[in-house]
Symmetry: C2
Subunit: 451 residues, 2 copies
């Protein structure tokens, strides 16, 4: 029974709970059993209190038994990255500088998850300050490899079946990369789709909150709960958002057109990855066209992101890291020192450039439904001292475009290799529909090959 | 007849034109006669074409004769500062670097003025780049004195009766200060109330567009035409704006409370000004309370504005000024060089501080209707080589709060001395009502004294 529960997607679990086929308590208990079974190896959680999770689950069951109408995530456990505030669990941002920190209220995204009926399952490990210095988490596919970062625990917990859904954050490549390394679905929504209020802030321009799941429907399901205007986040927009779950389930009226874009970071892709993507593009035939971004323009994007990120982080965290002496890692301290050397005019130029990249890519989406590109430079690297290279995420973070990582390919030793789809701004529902179509299309091709 | 026309307020003129008592052509002709009479001394206009103005006026008269419904400024001439784009007149930003420049379309504010029926009367002199280096304009009250800057021509043209209304811009003290020196009403509306699209841009945070007039009703009248959401200016707000003219004509339900605030810049006020303000505060009795801003907090605001303004201007104008060699003034080049030395973290800190000042002042307005404070350090200084000191405007520009300059006092040689009222954010209509109340209250007191 327990194993069967662990394999449920969130959408399936929510359906079963709503129909009374299973209780939230039994489901949560099965997930706790899975944590007991595997967490000592994976180390996905920073804070985990089974009693706290079970108490919520029982409350959800009682709420249902009383005949109340249920939210879309009713009774479904969701894990929260430890740089996202929770009032009832510590939020330590992966740094001893925040040891014992208890926020006085939930982050906006957490409030919305609760309102949708979710059970807050625990806090997942983030790298130090949601930056590069790794936490304790290991990759469930190979414990000697990194799960990626900075949302290490969220990706690993979902991959290891400890929870069907988790949320994380991305300022450069912190959702897409760990999703790819851990072989789960991950999404960095359009900038401003999900509120960052109550989330450790690096940069207003670069910060995003997004989900991890084991199906695309689950990504849509949790987006439905989290997306939308929040007056506490000035980049959220006072518009209605579409229903993502019905969006992802729609058949596209015409077959999508994909642009296979290698980006100026292409040389960072390892040989096997480059080859796997060339083969994927070939196998997709007319669906995909090879498009090169104009290098003289786009090759600066990585430097632009770095100028913004270092300066914004130096501004936000300079004081607390400075007061902490050598508590913060050398990596982080060096990064902040670099940020202090960025001039205001360089910073402003990088911001202006970022807008320019977004604008020129939006022309691009007049023709293509999505960009197909690697989620990472390869499979999860060996060792736990690094969380890997975010190079294939930077441009899409800087431009704020929505991106998903799909666990479609396998690399060396059968390890997951993520395929990234990037869509037009604020067309997240359409991007999910395109991604779903691609999954179906590839499954169909494969079946045809076997037959 | 001509002299009588020149003394009309815009509200009076618009009423007479609407009722058919005068034609826009006759009115415009009278103003042109005043330009012929006095412009050679004052030098308020950068570009002036009487035929262009008359052609529009005749069009307005024809439009009315055809029975069309009229906009609030129908047939009323308005002068435009030469850093605000006009498609049919040059826009040279007070610099040879823009000699002969013809924008391909009107600034948003100009489009709105036209839509309200205004006659675009001519382009008024701005200092170089709407910054400190003066243009040719002289103060109509004393031709040996500066009219203030950077909206020098707009203030002087209205003061000299050449036009009833003009618009200008303020990034530090460029509306309030010239209005004060020239003895007219000037308003810097709340940040984001009037679109800056098509206006020479220094700083998204600091730039404002606002009017000059010879009555408060006229200020309200032109605000009604210009205010409101514009998708080309990301700081305008997608909300309805109140009707300012009906606002300014309302009697406040209770007598307003004013806070007499000297600000940390007080030592810059000359002796006569300081004394005049002390006397004004005394004469107002219970209406006004003396309030000191907490100096350790607010004394940094002037440096914060300077960090933002220098860096933003270096970013925006660095290239064109650099390419121009010594075409730009040394003052401007030094300022941009200073901007290039500002670090991104200093810039970000200044932006964060600006928000903090705005927030803490908004608590302040829970109790007071408006702040009463000098508009300038004194009367218009002698000489034309400087446009005076914006020190009494900086804090209100940085915080984005609405401010009006009222020509209520007289200083040395009977020269005008401006009284500044500053109101709560986005309560521009209420600020105008408070200002109107103060005018009436002082007139009543004076009448009582005489009797």
């Amino acid at each position: 029974m327990s194993a069967e529960f662990v394999e449920l997607t969130a959408t399936e679990a929510a359906g079963k709970i709503a129909r009374g086929e299973i209780s939230s308590e039994d489901y949560t208990r099965a997930l706790i059993a899975q944590v007991d079974h595997i967490e000592s190896k994976v180390g996905a959680f920073a804070h985990f209190d089974p009693e706290f999770a079970l108490a919520q689950a029982r409350q959800r069951d009682e709420y249902r038994a009383n005949g109340n109408s249920l939210g879309p995530l009713h009774g479904v456990p969701v894990a929260i990255k430890d740089c996202i505030d929770t009032a009832e669990l510590p939020t330590e941002n992966g740094s001893a500088l925040f040891a014992g920190r208890r926020p006085y209220k939930d982050a906006a995204a957490v409030t919305r998850l609760r309102a949708a009926g979710a059970v807050i399952f625990g806090k997942t490990v983030t790298t130090e300050f949601a930056f590069y210095h790794p936490g304790k988490t290991r990759n469930p596919h190979d414990l000697e490899r990194t799960p990626g970062g900075s949302s290490s625990g969220s990706a690993a917990a979902v991959a290891a079946g400890m929870v069907p859904l988790a949320i994380g954050t991305q300022t450069n490549g912190s959702i897409i990369r760990p999703a790819a390394y851990c072989g789960v679905f991950g999404m960095k929504p359009s900038h401003g789709l999900v509120s960052r209020a109550g989330v450790l802030s690096h940069s207003r321009v670069l910060d995003h909150v997004g989900p991890f799941a084991r199906s695309l429907d689950d990504i849509a399901l949790i987006l439905d709960a989290m997306a939308g205007y929040d007056e506490e986040d000035p980049d959220t927009k006072p518009y209605a958002v579409p229903n993502f779950l019905s969006g992802v389930r729609q058949e596209p009226p015409v077959a999508p057109r994909l642009a296979y874009v290698r980006t100026p970071a292409w040389s960072k892709a390892d040989k096997a990855t480059a080859q796997a993507f060339e083969e994927l593009a070939d196998s997709l035939g007319e669906v995909v066209q090879r498009v090169e971004l104009h290098e003289p323009v786009y090759s600066h994007a990585w430097d632009d992101l770095r100028a913004i990120m270092t300066a914004d982080m130096a501004h936000r965290h300079g004081k607390i890291v400075g007061r902490g002496g050598d508590v913060a890692s050398q990596t982080l301290r060096d990064f902040l020192a670099e940020g202090r050397r960025v001039s205001a005019t360089r910073y402003l130029e990088a911001l202006a450039q970022a807008k320019q990249y977004t604008r020129s890519l939006s022309d691009f989406f007049e023709y293509y439904d999505a960009i197909l590109t690697p989620a990472a430079t390869g499979v999860a690297p060996k060792g736990l001292e690094s969380t890997g290279d975010p190079a294939f995420c930077s441009l899409w973070t800087l431009t704020g475009l929505p991106a998903v990582s799909l666990p479609l390919l396998q690399g060396e030793n059968g390890l997951p290799l993520g395929v990234q789809l990037v869509g037009p701004m604020n067309r997240d529902a359409r991007l999910l529909r395109t991604a779903k179509w691609l999954l179906g299309h590839l499954a169909h091709n494969e079946a045809a090959e076997v037959a």
